[in-house]
């Protein structure tokens, strides 16, 4: 039986500004399983990204618990969270956020060497992963500004995977890419998931969502739909698409 990787209980997040409180997440009880490719969908302002950042320890919840790899993230301080993130989480951002004063290889190493001090091991792994996502040796010494969007995002994925995270978080990773680049990036996600990597991804794109095996739908800070879509396969894509479309229609998307 598949184990839970994250469990939240009564997870709340409230933002306050000028005396006005905005309850973005409301008493969320979520359980994400190992090796799942979970997709979080919802309309704008529904709290998708807030939920992702709270579960990943990038932001602190206002109330509730987040049980991740045996740790309650809500109780960790900022530095403990940083250590937790480097050991257990990988992140892929919509804006990619590669460090633009570093080469491709250095971007990956800057993350990998944080956990593993053995430079040779990290370097070998980085090169292997870069090759796996289609970033050849000739691009390793390039700077992020010299890469295409798709290439840069694939480097971003490698950076996220370099420390073998328990869970890979992705916040609309294809949001800033064109169609061809999106497909190449999504293929990478699919591949790594097939190899056992747990992923949780926020998206509002149906094509992207089809890659997941579970869809959570968020509305006004509450989970109002949970669809089991099964493991991704190109063969039953039409079937999956129909199922997802019906689900989203049901959710009022």
């Amino acid at each position: 039986m598949t184990k839970a990787i994250i469990k939240t209980e009564k997870l709340c997040k409230t933002f306050s500004s000028a005396g006005i409180q905005q309850h973005v997440l409301k008493n969320l009880d979520i359980c994400l399983l190992e090796e799942d490719f979970t997709i979080i969908m919802g309309s704008s302002g529904s709290g998708k990204s807030t939920l992702l950042y709270a579960m990943s320890g990038m932001d602190k919840p206002t109330l509730g618990t987040i049980d991740f790899a045996g740790e309650n993230l809500a109780k960790l301080n900022n530095d403990q969270l940083a250590v937790f993130r480097r050991n257990h989480c990988g992140f892929v951002f919509q804006q990619i956020y590669l460090l633009d004063n570093m080469s491709v290889l250095d971007n990956v190493l800057a993350s990998g060497l944080l956990v593993n001090k053995n430079k040779r091991e990290v370097e070998e792994k980085a090169k292997e992963l870069l090759n796996q996502v289609g970033i050849g040796e000739n691009a390793w010494s390039k700077f992020p500004t010299q890469l295409s969007g798709g290439e840069a995002q694939r480097v971003g994925i490698v950076r996220a995977l370099i420390n073998s995270p328990k869970l890979l978080f992705a916040d609309e990773p294809t949001g800033a890419l064109n169609s061809a680049a999106s497909t190449s990036v999504l293929d990478v996600f699919t591949d790594v998931n097939r190899n056992g990597q747990s992923i949780v991804m926020v998206t509002h794109d149906m094509k992207t969502a089809l890659r997941g095996n579970r869809i959570l739908y968020l509305r006004d800070g509450v989970i109002c739909g949970d669809l089991q879509l099964g493991t991704y396969s190109e063969k039953d894509n039409v079937e999956r698409h129909k199922k997802l479309k019906n689900f989203l229609a049901e959710m009022g998307w």
Partner: protein, 797 residues
Amino acid sequence: MSSAIKSSKISLQKWGGKVKIINLAMANIRKSKSATFSLFIFILVAALLLNIGLMVITQINTFFESKAEQLKDPHAIIMMDYANYHSSYGEFITKYPGVTESETEEMIRMNMAKFNFGNSELSTNVIIFNADTKRSIGPLNLIEKLNTYSSHDIFVPYSFKTNGGYQLGDHFTITYQDKEYEYRIGGFFETTMMGTNNMGVMKFMLPEPSYLKLADELSTQSEGLVISAILDDQTQSSTLKNNFFKEFHQSIEVNANIWGLDIEQVKSVTTLTINLLATILVAFAIIIVLVSLIVIKFRVANSIEDGVENIGVLKAIGYTSRQILSSMILQFIFIALCGSVIGIALSYVLMSFFGSIISTLSGLIWTQTFGLMANLISIFFVTLAVLIVTLLSAFRVKKILPVAALRGGIQTHNFRKNRVPLEKARGGLHFLLAIKSTLANAKQNMMILFIIIALTFASVFSAVSYYNIASDKTAFVDLFGVEPANVYVIIKPDVDIRELLSHIEQMEYVRKVNLLDKIQTKIDGQIVYTNVTNHYDRLENNIVYEGRQPKYENEISISWVVSNQINKGIGDTVEVEFENETASFLVTGISQLIHHSGQVAALTLEGIQQLQTNYKGFTLNVYLDGISNKDFIKNVQEQYGDYLVGTVDIDENIESETSMYTDAVFAVLLTVLAITVLVVVMILYLVIKTMIIKRKKEFGVMKAIGYSTMQLMHQIAISFLPVIITGVTIGGALGYFFTNPVLAVLLSSAGVKRLDFTIHLPTVLLLCIGILLLGYLVSMLVSLKIKKITVHSLMTE
């Protein structure tokens, strides 16, 4: 009519343009409040110090001159023993062209009297006047006095309060010829002549009964006369004095006790240290102005690079390059004007503090006046410098085309080379990332480098000055030409000095004994204080800076002052007169010293014996090791008291004479160090804050991938270390090698030709390490700001 409408339209357009420029400038200021504030503080501090320095430099001479006028002090005085007086002296002075008033008055002269001054005992010549004598020149002007009268009252110069540690009513003892005279401080008076202990003579006043009583008690040898003169042009006072001695040099016996002081000479000695301190303040102000200019250059370059798209938009909607340029200039001119005007206003508040230093050094009450010229120079200098640098830095705005600016602007980083690649470079991850950051911000780091160099140099310069003037005074005292022995003993004329020298040399704790007399001779007609010893190489203060001290009986060294007066140098022959005998000597060296107005020469014992065959000498300089001067004096008095005229504790004398400099130099040192700390803190604050804002996303990403706040803080702090280390190393080295030459230049007007202040390498290193640690600590504290920002907000804000 139509032309009037047209011209009003044009003026409205012009006004509209000006408003736009002002709006842009104000928007820029609002956008960078903390950077504006830092720059404002720098300019404020620079203008403040500059104005204080300039006001002192421009006002000190006038202050001294107007004090002399206000107190009706003499411009020139000739003092002599009663026995040496001749009526023609008074006539000469009275009839001298330009003398408006002259007066001859009796006084009591004490040659080397002792009294406590500050924390030590001072041995100096003392002149005592009758306080109740009606005089028109230099009347008694008590600024503080006791309400009650005592027959033991004495009136002393104001420096006894500011520097000597005395209060009204305090007990005051003068020791003269082994006898103590007890008095009570009845009042303090202001005087420009003989009011401080830096002219080798001080004046006191006694009420008539006490004066007459003292005159009765002392021998007739202590009776003297003073001829005072006031000139319509006080700058002629030195000429009057010199002409007096030229006129009577035939009739004045060489060993006659007759000497003179003139107001110009007193003014230059009294204002020497004040001018030096003011010059240091001006120099430091210029350093801070340079720091401000570097900051402005950096800020202008940054604002163009960061705001190139805004510049593009402004140009696209019709702003001219000139308007954009003007807004930048206006922004910095506004800060410069505000900073300098407020700094100048504050300088008047701080002048009361500097005024107290002036009072300590001059013994005169400083009255602050409005220094319009200094104020205008300060504002003009600061504003003009800011204008030029802003204009030069912002000029490239003109070359930016709107399209190019809107399409992503100027390439601000050079990515062609991946400096310090992580896979190849050796070292820890955080260290390597810090070095990457250092190299990526080369321009900004150059700015910090120059600032740290300047500040380290200024700190080393101040610390060295403080160490040598206030702590270990040896090198400072050497400038005065004092031989750094511990005690000197004056021998009775009939004693065999060689035998006594060897006896004293045998005493316990005595390291060395030298014969070193100071006698009066005439060299080519000039009265000169002349040192006499048998071995100049045994002395520890070699005052000759060119050539050498005399070795043989026909050789002499003269000071550069004497050299200028008689127009002779090394290799020339001079006529030396002593005890009615004259002989020729060859000049072998030129010396420097501040004492005796620089009128000093040096002969060998054999040399003086050519003029007086039975000359044996009368002063022994004793160098001690492992015993206090007081204990030694007690021992030598017990064992050889019968052979001695007296003893003088040289260390205490020096301590007493230099104590006035200690507080002043300490105040300047503290100012320099405080400002160094302030500038280092503010520069790093400014740079790191800007850096965090600029690299917010980068830090957010790094936090997201697992870097802790502490790791990022260390990275930021370490990234500044190479530049701070280089800065303190260069600044420290410059301080180590150039403090003496710079000080020599600053003191050259006082007659210093060579300066050899002690510079302790460990102290310089400690100071450099201190600045380095301060830099690291400040970097860590400022970068603590990252802690408060969440990862999410770092990336998304």
